[in-house]
């Protein structure tokens, strides 16, 4: 068996260097953190559920990662790092994963967390989670002793620990008594540094410091969603304020200390207010055009490639009104899977002449191409409107269909409705790696019978050598972009603002978190 911690150290070496640079560049705050106080965070909506095994939206995950903990979680560089596990061993053939649990970890109800809880949590996950398919190759779970947990797979999966690090549908550990609770019906009891206080739906939610929290003493400090996390605040109150103007006003008036999802234009209102600091969070999400491979005429790869050829990224991002950065890859430059400039030829081609030639080759005869978008997310709508003009210039017969987000999302995910091209953003997938992208690549463009993509993914999962996995990802990414299943638009950021005269050590990260944050 190879030690996971050794592999983890190797993979994250470069990432840590970057993180260290970041730490050195960060101004030093008050030497001694203050304990106590209440922080108010205004965000656009509240969670629908706090059941981690079924939670996928950021508003849910932002709360959940304060309350619960998994065996492994993402660190600052989005790599896997043990949390409730102290050691992870992987068999040479990548079919057996042995987790040694940290001792003395307490649930919010005072009970010690043991392998029985881990076993029950994984069994519940397999029953209720929409993400349960990632456990399809599990042959069995075992809890040989109170602090040991073993997962056996039917076939090798070299990135299985990376699967478990996912912050979306997180593999959080619940007390074993919750094993048979239906989806969304659990008691909110975890091992996290905060515990649930009051929750008034549509109004606010309060989390309180869990004084019995047992941090990971092996780490020197917090590291993404892992590491040694410390709750200094007595409580954090999440106020659900859907209107951006009201969130901005709440920060200006002192009714909130931190606000999320600040529109670019509204951030200008903070000009001249020295106490308010605004962060730009990158990486955050990636926006792509999704092309339906099961609706004519985009069943023809040449037509899809012609659409890809007309895209002018600058015009599109200029219209979207959100902070963004151009980026040709489906992973970020800091990822070990980043392929340098290899995918650049598919990006931002601005080439209507090429599109016309491809259309001619495809025998395109003016068939209608429906671009579907929604009225709820202006950045999605504006991207589609600009693309429609770019396509018209190249000779496409384009119709724009604007529906609401639920219809748009259902159509993309289920292949229903009449549409050829749509757009959406992916947040966790590009951060976490190829295994997290897989469902998206197949589901949204409705890819069927692509043996090249299938073979590349098989090679990815089966390769025990990291270099071979990187090569497999190159094949996957190239196939997705070359076939124009997805057309990359840009790396999108988000803005958060906070009262720097009051709040200390609020760090920019993909998921907002309040451990190791204190008040002056």
């Amino acid at each position: 068996m190879t030690s996971f911690s050794a592999m983890f150290r190797m993979i994250t070496a470069m990432g840590r260097s970057i993180a260290l640079l970041g730490v050195l560049a960060t101004p030093l705050h008050a030497a001694e953190p203050n304990r106590g106080g209440s922080l108010v965070y205004a965000y656009l909506s509240g969670p629908g559920t706090l059941d981690p095994h079924v939670a996928s939206s950021l508003v849910e995950l932002e709360v959940i990662h304060h309350l619960f903990e998994p065996l492994v979680a993402i660190d600052n560089n989005y790599n896997a790092r043990p949390v409730l596990a102290s050691k992870i061993e992987t068999s040479a053939d990548a079919t057996v994963f042995t987790f040694t649990l940290r001792k003395g970890v307490k649930f919010h109800n005072g009970k010690e967390m043991t392998s029985a809880d881990v076993l029950a949590s994984f069994e519940r996950y397999r029953k209720v989670s929409p993400n349960a398919s990632v456990l399809a190759d599990v042959d069995g779970f075992e809890a040989p002793d109170p602090y040991g947990f073993v997962i056996r797979l039917k076939k090798p999966n070299a990135v299985f620990v990376d699967v478990l690090k996912s912050p979306v549908y997180p593999f959080e550990i619940l007390p074993a008594e919750q094993k048979d609770k239906a989806a969304r019906e659990i008691d909110i009891v975890g091992t996290g540094p905060f515990m649930l206080g009051e929750w008034v739906k549509d109004s606010h939610l309060v989390i309180k410091r869990f004084d019995g929290y047992v941090p990971d003493e092996s780490a020197s400090g917090p590291d993404g969603l892992a590491g040694r996390r410390t709750a200094y605040l007595d409580q954090v109150r999440y106020n659900f304020v859907p209107e951006a103007n009201a969130r901005v006003a709440a920060l200006q008036t002192g009714n909130a200390d931190v606000i999320g999802d600040v529109p670019r234009d509204l951030a200008k209102r903070f000009d001249g207010q020295a106490n308010i600091t605004t962060q730009q969070i990158f990486p955050y999400c990636m926006q792509v055009f999704v092309v339906n491979t099961q609706a004519a005429p985009t069943t023809n790869p040449l037509v899809r490639q012609a659409i890809e050829a007309v895209v002018n990224v600058e015009d599109i991002t200029g219209a979207m009104g959100q902070i963004s950065r151009p980026g040709h890859s489906l992973v970020y430059a800091s990822s070990p899977y980043y392929q340098g400039d290899a995918m650049k030829p598919y990006y931002d081609q601005r080439n209507p002449a090429k599109a016309k030639a491809l259309l001619k080759q495809a025998g395109y005869n003016g068939e209608k191409i429906v671009l579907q978008t929604n009225s709820n997310y202006p950045n999605f709508r504006d991207a589609i409107l600009v693309l429609s003009e770019q396509m018209k210039d190249a000779g496409f017969n384009v119709a724009v269909d604007i529906v609401d987000w639920t219809t748009n999302a259902s159509n993309m995910q289920r292949g229903t409705g009449v549409w050829n091209v749509s757009t959406t953003g992916y947040c966790s997938n590009p951060l976490l790696g190829p295994q997290q992208w897989k469902v998206m690549f197949y589901t949204f463009p409705h890819v069927k019978d692509d043996h090249v993509l299938d073979a590349a993914y098989d090679a990815f999962y089966a390769s025990l050598d990291p270099q071979k996995r990187i090569a497999a990802w190159a094949d996957i990414e190239k196939r997705v972009l070359e076939q124009a299943y997805m057309i990359k638009i840009a790396d999108m950021g988000t803005m958060r603002s906070y009262n720097a005269a009051k709040v200390v050590n609020f760090m920019p990260y993909y998921i907002v978190h309040f451990w190791d944050v204190w008040l002056k």
């Binding site: 939670a55 993400n131 969304r184 209107e243 609401d404 995910q413 409705g417 997290q436 998206m440």
Partner: protein
């Protein structure tokens, strides 16, 4: 009277049945799938299908309608797909917010709107009339979304008089905090109601002030205050009561925009979120409850008619 109320309530049953069928069919005609919302964007198609089966969404629409009616017959309004609570408890939790806002939003515009309407009618075609109607026009026409944002910037950010958003419950936060949290949204809502009431009161008063009995009262030497206030307004009151009933119905239905801007956890926001998430049981149940509330308001308005105009009798 009791018999009349009973008959009116009995008559509402077919109306409510129609509301139930329409709300069910309209919701199911909307494209979009609640299973996708529940499963989340990262779910596999198989997981979405499993949730559809669990929710019974794979059954025919008529079978789902029948099953909903059978539950209704047992007094079960169903459970929200998203909130993990029954429709009745979801509405019940938000009712105090909506009722508080509705009460304030009725208490403010009633005296102001009526007074402005009477003034405009009495000083017909004068600058007072023009001024009142200009205010009414602005109140009715200006988008409440825009007024709300301008109000927040002025009264919360610049002047710091009231909180910018959020609701403070009366029982736990106290009457002061409760009032402070609601006065701004209530004022924004009131602008429309004041405009609406002033225009309707003016119109009704103009009709009444032209009547012979007003001329007779003046000829008898009755004071202007008494002529307009008692003889005139009393006869215009039926129209005002009708308008007030409509206003109450609108307010109970929830003031979606104002609740959204001021982050008030009321019924309007609940309904909008329910529609966005295609939360069928929640929307169907809420529509039925709204229908029942509107019936009650109409019955109440009919009863008030008998109080303000003794000529109206139902027996």
């Amino acid at each position: 009277m009791f018999r009349t109320i009973s008959v009116r309530l009995m008559q509402s049953i077919p109306v409510l049945l129609l509301v139930a069928v329409l709300s069910f069919i309209l919701m199911h005609l909307l494209p979009g799938d609640p299973a996708v919302v529940i499963a989340g964007a990262d779910a596999t198609p198989a997981a979405v299908e499993r949730i559809r089966r669990e929710l019974g969404l794979d059954q025919s629409i008529w079978r789902q309608l029948l099953s909903w009616f059978l539950n209704l017959a047992q007094g079960k309004f169903g459970s929200s797909l998203m909130l993990n609570q029954t429709v009745l408890s979801a509405v019940g939790e938000r009712l105090p917010v909506t009722l508080s806002l509705a009460a304030l939003s009725l208490a403010i515009p009633l005296p102001i709107g009526i007074a402005l309407g009477i003034l405009a009618a009495y000083f017909r075609s004068s600058w007072i009339d023009a001024g009142v109607m200009a205010i009414a026009l602005i109140g009715v026409s200006a988008p409440s979304f825009w007024i709300a944002i301008v109000s927040v910037i002025l009264f919360s950010v610049k002047l710091g008089w009231v909180p910018s958003a959020g609701y403070a419950p009366l029982l736990t936060a106290g009457p002061g905090a409760w009032f402070a949290s609601l006065i701004q949204p209530a004022m924004v809502l009131s602008l429309f109601q004041i405009g609406f009431l002033a225009r309707m009161t003016r119109s009704a008063m103009l009709d009444v002030l032209e009547q012979d009995f007003i001329r007779t009262a003046r000829a008898k030497g009755v004071s202007e205050w008494r002529t307009v206030g008692k003889h005139g307004f009393r006869n215009a009151l039926v129209a005002v009561v009708t308008v007030s009933g409509i206003i109450v119905s609108l307010l109970i239905g929830g003031s979606v925009v104002v609740e959204q801007v001021f982050a008030l956890p009321g019924i309007g926001r609940l309904v909008v979120q329910g529609i966005m998430a295609r939360d069928y049981p929640l929307i169907q149940g809420t529509m039925l409850l709204f229908g029942f509330a509107f019936v009650l308001i109409n019955v109440a308005v009919d009863i008030v008619y008998t109080l303000v105009d003794p000529r109206v009798r139902y027996d």
